[in-house]
């Protein structure tokens, strides 16, 4: 986690990344970086290319131009499961839990890349495999108590409330022990109380677990409240970058959000 091989201290560094869909430039020459233990925000009007950029980071899309580095290691073009193994874990805008599995199993699957037991190990259950399973369970339980879901570990994840499901998704992503945690609209659909709890949780993930976090969010109170640095996309281009205060005063941003006469 020290980023010792990194000379610029960036956890993630996207260099002139582009993604075209036919003639549409969904992401157009975007430069973007995230520093170690930073909470960064990514905003922009609907269709600005935020989720596309996210999907480029996680390997769900391949960039059509530019490069993406995770601590100086090129990750552009890798498959999602390979990128997770390298150290990026994500949540989804429309919650994608394993609905029919228990809360605990969901988190255990999050730890898939941090465990090794294969087919033979599963059948023979050597001491090493048993130990790994035990430790994975301990870690999963500690993550569940971190997000306040330890009492619900045996429930089916589909039976959790909306806010709980969001938190479970975060716990599942944390189980992958990511260098970078990507949150795609974590506050979407939450009531004010749940939103407040979420903001506290995100801060705790950074402060107590020393994680680096990037979030896409529409709720301005959330983004402005917890991000240290924000990038703004519009029509696939990065139109501004800075502290929340700077972004709020940025002419181009106000223009993009409110229309012509800024």
């Amino acid at each position: 986690m020290s980023g010792m091989n990194s000379n610029n201290g960036y956890v993630l560094d996207a260099v002139q990344v582009s993604r075209n869909f036919g003639g549409l430039k969904a992401v157009d020459n975007v430069d973007f970086y995230i520093k170690e233990q930073e909470i960064a925000g990514l905003i922009g009007p609907n269709g600005a290319g935020k989720t596309t950029l996210f999907n480029l980071f996680t390997g769900h899309y391949q960039p059509t131009g530019g490069d993406i580095f995770l601590q100086d290691e090129k990750i552009g073009g890798l498959k999602p499961h390979q990128i997770t193994e390298k150290g990026i874990a994500r949540t989804f805008q429309n919650i994608r839990l394993f609905a029919g599995m228990s809360v605990l199993d969901n988190v255990l699957i999050g730890g898939h890349t941090r465990t090794k037991t294969g087919l033979l190990g599963a059948i023979l259950q050597c001491p090493g495999d048993k130990k790994e399973e035990r430790e994975a369970k301990e870690l999963a339980l500690s993550l569940l108590s971190f997000v306040g879901l330890d009492a619900k570990k045996d429930e089916l994840s589909q039976n959790l409330s909306y806010g709980e499901q969001r938190r479970l998704e975060i716990a599942r992503a944390l189980a992958a022990d990511p260098k970078l945690l990507l949150l795609d609209e974590p506050a979407a659909g939450m009531n004010p109380q749940e939103t407040m709890n979420l903001m506290q949780l995100i801060s705790r993930i950074r402060d107590e677990m020393q994680k680096t976090i990037l979030l896409i969010e529409h709720d301005m109170k959330v983004v402005m409240g917890i991000s240290e640095r924000i990038a703004v996309l519009n029509y696939g281009k990065k139109i501004a970058e800075g502290t929340p205060r700077e972004i709020q005063r940025d002419e181009a941003v106000i223009h993009a959000y409110l229309g012509v006469s800024a």
């Binding site: 999602p80 874990a89 994608r96 609905a99 029919g100 890349t113 495999d129 992958a176």
Partner: protein
């Protein structure tokens, strides 16, 4: 003679338990609808029989050889069909099953349309029981492990599974490989019991029969498949008393069962239980049921 009849039913139940539980791994747990399971069984049946007849391998060696060859073909079919889902995959596995049947029907070494006869009767009830217990034991261990969780994750949500670092391609092939291995084992036991095998013993209808056992018992539940296999093997025998109406009753039982208890005798792990008040919407979310509608 009476007891020989019951012995045969018990042996068939044992073989079908192996077939159903191994198919459940592919279809119930990993969510890959396969209706070509009998093809793997036939590969195991022929390979084991030929290993005994031509290579002179001991029974255990023949069984293992048959299972291994079936697993090889399981992996082979897994690779080109990976991108297919639900009904599309089902059709592809059906096609694969037909190809295997036609090949056996035309190969010289397998006796072609005459079938393969003269296989020694090595399969005893003890062999079947040990093989069935071994199958259940191994599948249970796989399912309770990291590997099993990954398989179920593929069924539940492939995109999310991929995002959690699961190589979904690898795990789908693995499910087909392991499932085919045990199907091949069942085939080897089959050919060494009946001493005569014919390609048409492993046709499309037998694959459907295996699928019925899995669905009737409960998708995603090993114990359900055991009960399903036992029930669907034994019921037609008990119905023999009703002679002409046998098949009719058999069909009626299937229809009624699906109407009354669509989730199977034992619903899958926890997942196949339909939560109260969520019936239709939940079923709409269910990948397999959706795929079959």
């Amino acid at each position: 003679m009476f007891s020989a009849y019951y012995l045969q039913i018990i042996i068939l139940v044992g073989i079908n338990i192996i077939m159903a539980t191994s198919l459940n791994l592919i279809t119930g747990f990993t969510g890959q609808l396969s209706i070509g399971h009998a093809a793997f069984m036939s590969i195991g049946a022929y390979a084991a029989a030929l290993a005994t007849l031509k290579l002179g391998l001991p029974f255990f060696g023949s069984l293992f050889f048959g299972a291994l060859l079936a697993a090889f073909f399981g992996v082979l079919i897994g690779v080109p069909t990976l991108k297919l889902k639900g009904d599309y995959l089902a059709i592809a596995t059906l096609g694969f099953g037909e190809i295997v049947r036609i090949v056996f029907l035309n190969l010289k070494i397998t006796g072609g349309a005459v079938g393969l006869r003269g296989v020694p009767k090595n399969t005893t009830i003890l062999w079947v029981i040990v093989a069935a217990i071994l199958t259940i034991f191994v599948l249970n261990r796989i399912l309770k492990s990291r590997v099993g969780r990954a398989l179920v994750a593929v069924r539940e949500d492939e995109t999310a599974a991929e995002s959690m670092g699961i190589n979904t391609t690898y795990y789908k092939i693995l499910a087909f490989g392991v499932g085919a291995f045990f199907a091949g084992l069942g085939g080897g036991l089959f050919s060494h019991y009946f001493q005569y095998i014919h390609p048409n013993s492993f046709g499309f209808l037998r694959s459907i029969e295996h699928l019925c056992m899995v669905v009737l018992g409960g998708l995603g539940n090993i114990w359900g498949s055991i009960i399903g296999a036992a029930a669907l093997t034994a019921i037609p025998e008990f119905l023999r008393a009703s002679a002409d109406y046998r098949q009719l009753f058999y069909g009626a039982i299937l229809v009624l069962m699906m109407r009354i208890r669509p989730e199977g005798i034992i619903s899958g792990k926890k997942s196949r239980k339909i939560p109260p008040g969520k019936t239709s919407a939940w079923r709409g979310k269910n990948k397999f049921l959706k795929a079959t509608r």
